[in-house]
């Protein structure tokens, strides 16, 4: 799973959000490191939706502009959980090996 995909799914894990909300949330989650652009975001959303990982929650018109809210599907939540588990176990191994070598302190 690409990092952008992982961050988008994470942004939707707590509840539904619209496009611009996802962009600002992803920026926050990644501590300012990842700023998604519209083309990348919607290419990813389109693919995630056809893969059944997300779905449209509702639509609103705000100041005559369309806002479409997306939410995680049960399959999407499952995939995100699997990926998070995998990353945690990898990170755990990396940290413990670094500590074993006594070279770097990670705290």
């Amino acid at each position: 799973m690409q990092e952008a995909t992982f961050l988008i799914l994470t942004a939707l894990a707590a509840g539904s959000q619209h496009g611009y909300g996802i962009i600002t949330d992803v920026e926050q989650i990644s501590i300012g490191r990842v700023r998604l652009r519209a083309g990348t975001l919607y290419t990813a959303l389109d693919r995630l939706r056809s893969d059944g990982l997300i779905e449209v929650d509702r639509e609103e018109i705000v100041e005559s502009r369309l806002r479409r809210y997306y939410r995680l599907t049960p399959t999407g939540a499952e995939r995100l959980a699997e990926e998070a588990d995998r990353m945690r176990s990898n990170a755990h191994v990396a940290i413990s090996r670094l500590e074993m070598s006594g070279g770097v302190s990670t705290t």
Partner: protein, 136 residues
């Protein structure tokens, strides 16, 4: 013409690079996002934005072209068991010829082996296709 409508028109021009179906589905919400991200009084898309929009559009079109190559006529799916056997035997024959030619140390073996692999791959893909993924 006000700054915002000028900006919107320029964004629309960039969105025109995307495939029609994608635009029908996402153009309005993408415009919302692009306008929401624009600075006060901004009149043209930034270079980063333009590159992001156009490069994603080109990749999407390329990807669609590639997947279209794997969409076979529907009769192939109806007779997929028979066609799988035919392609399997054909790939075995081509593979044998390829190995025979290879034994003589000739590079002419490569096209035979490639053709064998292609027949095997296409045949198996179609054979594997489940009822749900059959074209209607």
């Amino acid at each position: 013409v006000s700054d915002s409508t000028q900006l919107e028109r320029r964004y629309r021009r960039l969105l025109a690079f995307y495939p029609k179906a994608f635009r029908r589905e996402h153009e309005q919400e993408m415009l919302s996002v692009l306008i929401a991200g624009a600075a006060e009084g901004q009149r043209r898309p930034s270079l980063d934005e333009a590159i992001d929009l156009v490069s994603n559009a080109i990749l999407m079109r390329l990807w669609q072209t590639c997947t279209k190559l794997f969409v076979r006529p529907s009769y192939e799916y109806r007779h997929r068991h028979l066609l799988w056997s035919v392609r399997f035997v054909a790939s075995l024959v081509l593979f044998s010829i390829g190995m025979f030619v290879l034994a003589y140390g000739s590079w002419w073996a490569l096209p035979f082996l490639a053709a064998a692999a292609a027949r095997f791959f296409v045949g198996y893909r179609i054979y594997q296709a489940t009822k749900t993924s059959l074209p209607t």
